[in-house]
Assembly symmetry: C2
Homo-oligomer: 345 residues x 2
């Protein structure tokens, strides 16, 4: 039994960025839990939103197409909500380096306008914000807990941290009641495999599905702790329903710490295609904001939210591959399915 | 002999916010040191800029009236500069709470555009940024060193920290060579005594000069370490001239840690007017972002920049009061001079 069981039945919740990867998975879970879900999503090109992600929700979700920074569109959508899951934004580290102002507008300025409006219209409301481990920059030691110094190595990390500080400040002032979940790499169904900059796991999955090589940047022993999206969703549901917490920031990580080359091998193997792993030189423009190894210390989330990652990587990858193979035309249109033509399958 | 002696002779330097309090004092010092000074200042209402602050510089300074976030005006002013002192911005904590978007535009978005342009036009240039102790929020212990956790309690602190992170990121990328000086309360000649939100020291000085009561928020034992502006300027000059440093952030503080009531008493006494100190209840809207006591640990600046505050508070206040009394019509126009009418003076 989950800590939030029954909490969402009939509850009016808002999911910003709810047409995106994580947001839509959360919307599915909320709908299944009986919530009245309103989704705010501007479908900003490049951010990974996709209306097809909502296909098959247990209840109908209201979708409002608006930028969260636009008062007019947003006000009417949030006026009676009881919990907000704030996932709108751009996650591409690379794009933030070439277009820092765009990243600042999407991840910082729009958040300030949104939170100001929310604090005004729904004072004291619980907001669960999708933060990022990128705010820590290059880890000083592993695993990384929430007291690790803040030292982002790219504009995306800076802007997400500024938005984190907004959440904290409004909470200190008693105008919002925010919880920030700092995510490691999330993977699973509904990742935008066709959109650049959505993380290496989406690239690996796409290439494995297509039977293409998986390129691992040398040395390949960098650690990551990928979180299966259902586990991440579980943390959001727990955070949205939790009573007043004695901390507001929580690191989330996956069930296992794995090397990049292990991750690539596991995905290639699971895909059962001709996909193979190949080592590549680290591109200079990417190396500049590489963080080396990262593993989250999620013990605070376990203690205060009763959360822990439950899905091992092999299981998560298997579920993910199955999802895409059953929806090939939606997520990999025109790419042709090796799966269907692979011998013996 | 100063560490920067001779460094600025004939050197082309830019001072953003150079018509403001600290910026103009720095411009005076740079001009005296023989630098070719270009000032960028938009004279944004409320930010404290004042062209009269430049009166009497040892050499003529070029003044370009432009927002640092506006490419067109800025590009021509920075195209051959060798050192940038980046002081433009809004310092009012209170105004940031009522107009957070304005503060974000002035202190964060404009800085991003400026630094991007600077990194493009003058790659690798030394930039000395005027940061603030406000990024630390409520001190966990005193004195506060540069490793203190970041936890700003107002929008101004958030936005100044975002700009700090921009400086750090561009430096990490090798595109700028930034030094961030985190200032405690600075006081001295050329404070904007007529502009609200420029800090309690300006309010005290103004009221003391006018013979009005100095209101100290209870309990009055909050510690501050006011820096005389000449000492702050000295740190900027040292930071602009220093070779590559093994740290980029430096806390600056004053020569003494004093209680608010001691500060008020000292100013009232030095003013020699009818001014008296009175204790007031802490206004609720200000209390929300009060940081309690603050004292900087400036030992890193002493070690790496060879800097230390040299002016004791009594001396600094005396010099400050004398400055204003000699320029009453410029800085307190129409207020009438108690000084001139005070008996026996």
């Amino acid at each position: 039994m989950n800590s939030w069981q029954g909490f969402y039945t009939g509850r009016r919740v808002v999911v910003t960025g709810g047409l995106g990867f994580l947001g839509s998975n959360l919307a599915h879970a909320l709908a299944s839990a009986g919530a009245e879900v309103t989704i705010l999503d501007a479908l900003v090109p490049g951010c990974g939103g996709n209306p097809e992600n909502l296909e098959g929700t247990a209840r109908c979700c209201r979708v409002v197409r608006t930028d969260i920074g636009e008062m007019a569109g947003t006000a009417g959508a949030i006026d009676d909500c009881e919990v907000v899951f704030n996932l709108a934004g751009e996650i591409s580290h690379g794009r933030s380096m070439t277009e820092p102002e765009r990243d600042g507008e999407l991840n910082t300025a729009a958040q300030l306008r949104f939170l100001g409006l929310l604090a005004h219209m729904r004072p004291g409301i619980r907001v669960v914000y999708a933060g990022t481990r990128q705010v820590y920059g290059v880890p000083l030691s592993l695993p990384v807990d929430e007291d690790h110094p803040i030292d982002p190595v790219d504009f995306n990390g800076i802007h997400k941290y500024a938005a984190t500080m907004y959440h904290m400040l409004y909470s200190r002032l008693g105008q919002l009641d925010a919880v920030v979940l700092r995510l490691s790499n999330v993977y699973g169904p509904r990742m935008a495999l066709n959109v650049p900059g959505q993380g290496f796991l989406g690239v690996f999955l796409r290439r494995a599905l297509l039977g293409e090589e998986l390129g691992v940047y040398r040395p390949g022993d960098q650690l990551r702790d990928p979180i299966f999206v259902d586990d991440a969703v579980e943390a959001f549901l727990a955070a949205g329903a939790a009573p007043v917490l004695r901390a507001r920031s929580f690191n989330l990580g996956g069930a296992q710490a794995l090397r990049l080359d292990e991750i690539a091998e596991a995905i290639a193997r699971a895909a059962g295609t001709e996909s193979r792993v190949r080592f590549l030189e680290f591109p200079k423009q990417d190396k500049a904001f590489d963080i080396g190894s990262y593993v989250a210390d999620w013990s605070r989330a376990r203690q205060l939210l009763g959360w822990q990652p439950r899905t091992d990587f092999a299981t998560g990858i298997e579920r993910t591959l199955r999802f895409y193979r059953e929806r090939w035309e939606t997520y990999l249109p025109g790419a042709g399915s090796l799966w269907e033509t692979a011998p013996g399958r």
